[in-house]
């Protein structure tokens, strides 16, 4: 058996297998690299760029970067943290993220990653784009205002639910999530609240109807524990639980 391959993440040796990305290996080793569009169970998308790390003087997304022997990865220098905050700020001003009015607030990954990054302000000028809501589905809602185009619902619906309900259409600033139905409405697709894709949205874009604000402030997922501690699995389990059981017991 050959010796274990490793790279360095902030000075710590991280073992990896051939084909692993830096993100895969880091998460497996219990090291948190902030991410929004990434889920270890699905192919990487590399769109949110929040997982940016420094390698050999270059800044690159760790979720799409193949790990290689002897790499020296910077996950925590002030340069990297500043770039992450800036990426998050751009995500916030590009949509309409009115946290005080959002049902996902407290359980939202965009928020949680921004808290973790210590983002105090959006810094940039808000776009305030005029976007709508798709309420055509009897049980689920879609809020274009909050969608960050992470593509997780696209991948989960395709690979896990085998339905391909979602796709991203358009380019650049005109990109938007579309639904796979002749009318283009979510209600005319075969999307169901029991789909895995129904609980994967990191923000409050895909949400169940008739449920909202059911968890009191102080008991929500990221109220006191940072996302680096909560982890992806717990987040997804809780989202699923809310969909199937209608929230926590009274």
């Amino acid at each position: 058996m050959s010796t274990e391959k490793t790279f360095k993440l902030d000075g710590r040796d991280i073992p990896f297998d051939d084909g692993d990305t830096v993100m895969d290996a880091a998460l497996r080793a219990g090291e948190y690299i902030p991410h929004l569009c990434h889920d270890p169970d699905f192919p990487p998308h590399g769109s949110c760029r929040v997982c940016v790390v420094g390698v050999n003087g270059r800044h690159t997304a760790s979720c799409t970067l193949q790990a290689s022997e002897g790499m020296d990865v910077d996950n925590s220098s002030e340069d990297i943290l500043e770039e992450r905050r800036m990426l998050l700020q751009m995500l916030f001003v590009e949509g309409n993220h009115t946290c005080p009015a959002c049902e996902k607030s407290g359980d939202c990954k965009l928020q949680a990653v921004a808290y973790h990054a210590g983002m105090l302000s959006p810094h940039f000028t808000h776009f305030f784009p005029k976007r709508s809501i798709d309420a055509s589905h009897p049980e689920m809602m879609f809020y274009y205002n909050r969608c960050i185009l992470c593509g997780l619902c696209v991948r989960v619906s395709k690979y896990e639910d085998k339905k391909s309900v979602f796709a991203i259409s358009g380019r650049g600033i005109d990109s938007r999530l579309v639904f796979n139905s002749p009318s283009g409405k979510l209600g005319d697709t075969d999307f169901s609240p029991t789909d895995q894709a129904a609980s994967v949205c990191p923000v409050g874009a895909i949400l169940p109807k008739y449920l909202g604000y059911e968890t009191p402030i102080g008991q929500r997922l990221y109220d006191f524990k940072p996302i680096s501690v909560v982890g992806d699995e717990t987040a997804r389990d809780i989202a699923k639980d809310k969909l199937t059981n209608g929230g926590p017991d009274e």
Binding site: F92, N96, H97, T98, C99, P100, A101, C102, S105, G106, Q111, A114, Y115, H116, G118, M119, L120, S121, P122, H123, T125, H126, F128, K130, R131, I217, D223, F224, P226
Partner: protein, 193 residues
């Protein structure tokens, strides 16, 4: 006017040992000011550290030279712009306090609609409206086309996020500044709702 100036000078005399703080509510719900009062009995400690200039708490209407200006609320009308610029001109450190000042917040949800639509919904087509007409008295400040966070209008030095920022957030900020420390918030004090 002369009397007013001397009042301001009088106010500023002999206060150099304390931080002079002014606060203003722009387009918000006053919740951030209420949250500041939630420091409860620590307010006795606070008045040892700071002295309030123009703020709804003292009901002083004009602003003198201040160390810190705390701004609650977004910028929604011409009057807000005037107040905000006056604060910027008089405060060494200007702080955006709460979601509305930091991001536009709830008032900025009207940015999804044209101003005309908003006014017509409220004053013409709204349920139970009598004598429907859009108010146009010259005393009423003109609404801006959109509601803006304050950093889109003036330079802002610091941000306290939250809806509202908790009393502990205010406390942490003011005591850090008074002690000359770099302001740093623990995880539990950074939230956007």
């Amino acid at each position: 006017m002369v009397a007013q100036m001397s009042n301001i000078q009088q106010r500023n005399q002999g206060r150099k040992d304390k931080l002079i703080v002014a606060t203003a509510p722009l387009c918000g719900c006053f919740g951030c000011h209420m949250s500041l009062l939630d420091i409860d009995e620590r307010i006795f400690e606070l008045v040892e550290l700071v002295e309030f200039d123009r703020t709804p708490v003292t009901d002083i209407k004009t602003i003198g030279k201040c160390d810190i200006g705390l701004i609650e609320g977004g910028v929604a009308n011409a009057h807000n712009v005037h107040d905000l610029r006056e604060f910027r001109a008089n405060c060494d450190t200007l702080v955006a306090v709460g979601s509305c000042a930091v991001t536009g917040g709830i008032p900025a949800m009207r940015n999804q609609f044209d101003l005309k639509e908003c006014l017509e919904e409220a004053y013409i087509h709204g349920i139970g409206v009598e004598n429907p007409h859009v108010p146009n008295d010259v005393e009423i400040p003109l609404l801006l086309d959109k509601v803006h966070p304050i950093h889109e209008v003036v330079r802002v030095d610091y941000f306290l996020p939250g809806c509202p920022p908790s009393a502990d957030t205010f406390w942490q900020f003011l005591t850090d500044v008074a002690a000359g420390n770099e302001v740093s918030f623990p995880y539990s004090l950074i939230h956007y709702d």
